[in-house]
C-alpha cells in the first residue's frame, strides 16, 4: 500500500516542528473570479493541504457560515465541472495538496469513474464526503483509490474504538476528527470528551490526525499538544474573507 501524498505532506510539516495547516474554502466563493485569488493566497500563505468545497444545495452537516457561502457560490454559478476544469487548467501551480470536500449527490451525478479520472488530472489528492460513512463507501472508495486518491474518514466524539479501527483498515490520507457533536462553525471552547476521542483515534489509526470544526485561533490548539498533527479551519476563514476580502492575513496568523 503506497503512502498517500496527504499523509506525507502532514508528516513533513510535523518533522519541521509544526502542525500542518488545512484551510477549507468553498469552490466558487465568494464569486467565480475571487475564488482563484483566494485559493492562490492560501497556497502562498503556507497551506499544506487545501480542502476545496464542492457546493451543494442541501449541506445538512454544515453550520450557517459554510451553508451561506456554499449557496452564494451556487448562485454565482459554480458547478463541479467548472471547478475541476479550473483546477485542471492550474494543475501543478499549487504547492499545497488539494482535497475535494462535498456531499455525495453532485459526485454521483457527475459519475464516479469520470470524477476519479478528472480529479486525478486536476491534481486532486483526496476526497472528503461527509454523507458517505463506512457502511456505504466501499464501491466509491475503490474507484477513487484506483486513481491514487484517498477517501478521508470523519470520526467524532461518539465514534467508538471498534468503528475507528474499521475505518483504519481501509482509510488513507489523514483522519478528520470532528471536535464537537455538532455542525461546522467557529466555537469558543471544546468539550472535555474530545481528549478521549483523540486518544482513540491515535490508537486506531496509523494516519495523521487532523482536528476540525470550531477552530479559529492558533491559541486554541495549545491544549492538544501532540495529540493532533494538523488543523482544519473553514468557518473562521470564510468569515475573515467576508470581513477583509483577503485570505492572506488569516494564514499569516498560523505561520
Amino acid at each position: 500500500m503506497t503512502t498517500s501524498k496527504l499523509t506525507e505532506r502532514i508528516r513533513k510539516a510535523n518533522a519541521a516542528g509544526r502542525k500542518a495547516l488545512i484551510p477549507f474554502i468553498p469552490g466558487g466563493f465568494p464569486d467565480l473570479e475571487q475564488f482563484w485569488t483566494h485559493l492562490e493566497a492560501l497556497d502562498a500563505g503556507g497551506a499544506d493541504i487545501i480542502e476545496v468545497g464542492v457546493p451543494f444545495s442541501d449541506p445538512c452537516a454544515d453550520g450557517p457560515v459554510v451553508e451561506k457561502a456554499s449557496i452564494q457560490a451556487l448562485e454565482a454559478g459554480v458547478s463541479l465541472k467548472w471547478l475541476l476544469n479550473g483546477l485542471k487548467a492550474r494543475a501543478g501551480r499549487f504547492q499545497a495538496e488539494l482535497v475535494l470536500m462535498g456531499y455525495l449527490n453532485p459526485f454521483l451525478q457527475y459519475g464516479f469513474e469520470k470524477l476519479a479520472e478528472d480529479a486525478a488530472a486536476a491534481g486532486v489528492s483526496g476526497f472528503i464526503i461527509p454523507d458517505l460513512p463506512l457502511d456505504e463507501d466501499a464501491p466509491y472508495r475503490a474507484v477513487l483509490q484506483g486513481k491514487g486518491m484517498a477517501l478521508v474518514p470523519l470520526v467524532g466524539l461518539n465514534t467508538d474504538l471498534e468503528r475507528m479501527k474499521a475505518y483504519a483498515a481501509v482509510a488513507k490520507g489523514y483522519v478528520y476528527v470532528v471536535s464537537v457533536l455538532g455542525t461546522t462553525g467557529a466555537r469558543e471552547s471544546f468539550p472535555a470528551e474530545l481528549a478521549d476521542a483523540l486518544a482513540r483515534a491515535r490508537e486506531a489509526f496509523d494516519l495523521p490526525i487532523a482536528l476540525g470544526f470550531g477552530i479559529k485561533e492558533p491559541a486554541q490548539l495549545e491544549v492538544f499538544g501532540d495529540s493532533i498533527d494538523a488543523v482544519i479551519f473553514g468557518s473562521a476563514l470564510i468569515t475573515h474573507i467576508r470581513e477583509t476580502g483577503s485570505a492572506k492575513a488569516f494564514m499569516a496568523r498560523w505561520a
Binding site: 442541501d58 449557496i71 456531499y103 449527490n105 454521483l108 460513512p133 461518539n158
Partner: protein, 397 residues
C-alpha cells in the same frame, strides 16, 4: 438484499456522527417494537387515543356515477385529522422506551408537527419542531396549534424555506442533541431505519383496510390508491396488500401546476436517482446534482424526494405511480365534498383525483380503496384562494 435497502434504494447516507443514534434506533426497532409489551401499549393508544379502527366508508353517490365502488379509508377521522398520528404516537412511545426525554421533528404543512406535538404531550415528552419559514407563514393555524400543545417551533430561514430545509435543520440539530432527543421522522423516508420504522407504525392502515374490505365485499379490492409525498400514508396503505398480486397499488404524485418547466413534486415520474436526506432514492435535481425546489398546492406533498421503498416498488413494477396536478386535485376536493359530504385534505384530493381522472381504466363493479390520509379543514385558506371566485351552487353543485 443489503440491510436497510429496498432493491437499489435506501441506505444510510449520513454524517458519521449520526451513525450511533441510527444504530441505537435500529436496535430499538428490532428489539423494543416487536415486544408484546410495546405492541400492547401501542395498540391501546391507537384504539383509545387515536380512535382506531378508522372506518372504511362507501361513497354511494360517486360510486353510482363512476360505475364502480369507491371506498375511503378514513384516516381523516383520526385524532389530529390525519394518518400522521399513527407514526408519531409509535415513535413517541419508542422514545419513552429508549429512555429519552425529548423528540424533535420537521414539518411542512404542519400536520406532522401537530401530530408529533400531540403525541409528545400525550406521553409527557418535550418537543421541538423545525419548519420552513415559508411554511410557518402559510400554515399559521397549525403553528398556533403546535404552540398550544407546548412545542417549540423553530422557523428555518435557509434554502427554499420549506420542508426539505426543515429536514436539513432537524438533522443538524439531531447531531448535536442525539443523546437526549429522538428524531421523530415524519414520513417513510430518510436514512435507515426510518423508512422501515415509519412503515411499521403506518401499516395498521392497510391491515385494517384489508380486513374491512374482505368483510364488506368478500373479496380483495381491484386497487388501493394513495397520494405520495414522502409516502408514509401510501406505504401504510399498501403494505398489507403487497403480497396480494391481484391488487393494483397506485401512488399519486403531485404534478404541481402541470405546466411544462414548472416545479412539481413528482420525483418518481419526473426525477432521477440520487442521494438526499440520508437515502438513495428518486429526486428532483438538476444535471449537477443540486436539489430542485418542489411545488404542490398540497403542502404535505411538497418534497423533492420520496421514500426509498416507493422508489423500489416503482422500479420493480409492483406499484404504479401516476400524477395529478393542482387543478385536478382542487376539482376532486369539490367533487368529494359535494357528493359525499366528506372534505378531503388537498394531499388526499390527489388520490381521489387520480380515480376520477382514470375512471375509464377501472372495470365496472370493481372495488377501489382510496386512502383518505387527512381532512381538508386545514386547507380552507388555500381552497378559498383558488376556488373562492366560483359561484356557490346548490345541493347538486
Amino acid at each position: 438484499m443489503k440491510k436497510g435497502y429496498f432493491g437499489d434504494f435506501g441506505g444510510q447516507f449520513v454524517a458519521e456522527l449520526l451513525i450511533p443514534p441510527l444504530r441505537e434506533l435500529e436496535h430499538a426497532l428490532e428489539t423494543i417494537v416487536p415486544s408484546p409489551e410495546f405492541q400492547a401499549e401501542f395498540s391501546a393508544l391507537l384504539r383509545d387515543y387515536v380512535g382506531r379502527k378508522s372506518p372504511l366508508t362507501h361513497c354511494p353517490t360517486l360510486s353510482k356515477e363512476l360505475g364502480f365502488n369507491l371506498w375511503l379509508k378514513r384516516e381523516d377521522l383520526n385524532h389530529t385529522g390525519s394518518h400522521k398520528i399513527n407514526n408519531t404516537l409509535g415513535q413517541a412511545l419508542l422514545t419513552k422506551y429508549m429512555g429519552k426525554p425529548a423528540m424533535l421533528t420537521e414539518t411542512g404543512a404542519g400536520m406532522n408537527g401537530v401530530a408529533t406535538a400531540t403525541a409528545a404531550r400525550a406521553l409527557d415528552l418535550d418537543c421541538i419542531v423545525f419548519m420552513g419559514a415559508t411554511d410557518v407563514a402559510r400554515q399559521s393555524h397549525n403553528v398556533r396549534r403546535m404552540q398550544l400543545l407546548g412545542a417549540e417551533i423553530v422557523p428555518v430561514q435557509n434554502g427554499t424555506k420549506t420542508l426539505k430545509d426543515a429536514i436539513n435543520e432537524a438533522l443538524r440539530y439531531w447531531i448535536a442533541e442525539q443523546r437526549t432527543h429522538h428524531y421523530c421522522f415524519g414520513t417513510a423516508a430518510g436514512p435507515h431505519p426510518f423508512p422501515t420504522l415509519v412503515r411499521e407504525f403506518q401499516s395498521v392502515v392497510g391491515r385494517e383496510a384489508r380486513e374491512q374490505i374482505l368483510e364488506k365485499t368478500g373479496e380483495l379490492p381491484y386497487a388501493v390508491v394513495a397520494c405520495v409525498g414522502g409516502g408514509s400514508n401510501a406505504i401504510g396503505a399498501f403494505h398489507a396488500f403487497v403480497p396480494d398480486e391481484s391488487v393494483r397499488l397506485v401512488g399519486v404524485e403531485a404534478a404541481g401546476t402541470g405546466e411544462p418547466g414548472c416545479y412539481n413534486s413528482a420525483p418518481l415520474n419526473l426525477g432521477s436517482r440520487g442521494v438526499l436526506h440520508g437515502q438513495m432514492t428518486m429526486l428532483l435535481q438538476d444535471e449537477d446534482g443540486q436539489i430542485l425546489p418542489s411545488h404542490s398546492v398540497a403542502a404535505g406533498l411538497d418534497y423533492p424526494g420520496v421514500g426509498p421503498e416507493h422508489a423500489h416498488l416503482h422500479d420493480s413494477g409492483r406499484a404504479h405511480y401516476g400524477t395529478v396536478n393542482d387543478a385536478q386535485a382542487l376539482k376532486a376536493f369539490m367533487t368529494l365534498t359535494r357528493s359525499e359530504g366528506i372534505m378531503p385534505a388537498l394531499e388526499s384530493s390527489h388520490a381521489v383525483a387520480w380515480v376520477l381522472e382514470n375512471r375509464d381504466r377501472i372495470p365496472k363493479g370493481a372495488n377501489v380503496i382510496v386512502n383518505l390520509s387527512g381532512r381538508g379543514d386545514k386547507d380552507m385558506d388555500i381552497i378559498e384562494e383558488h376556488l373562492g371566485a366560483q359561484p356557490v351552487h346548490g345541493r347538486k353543485g
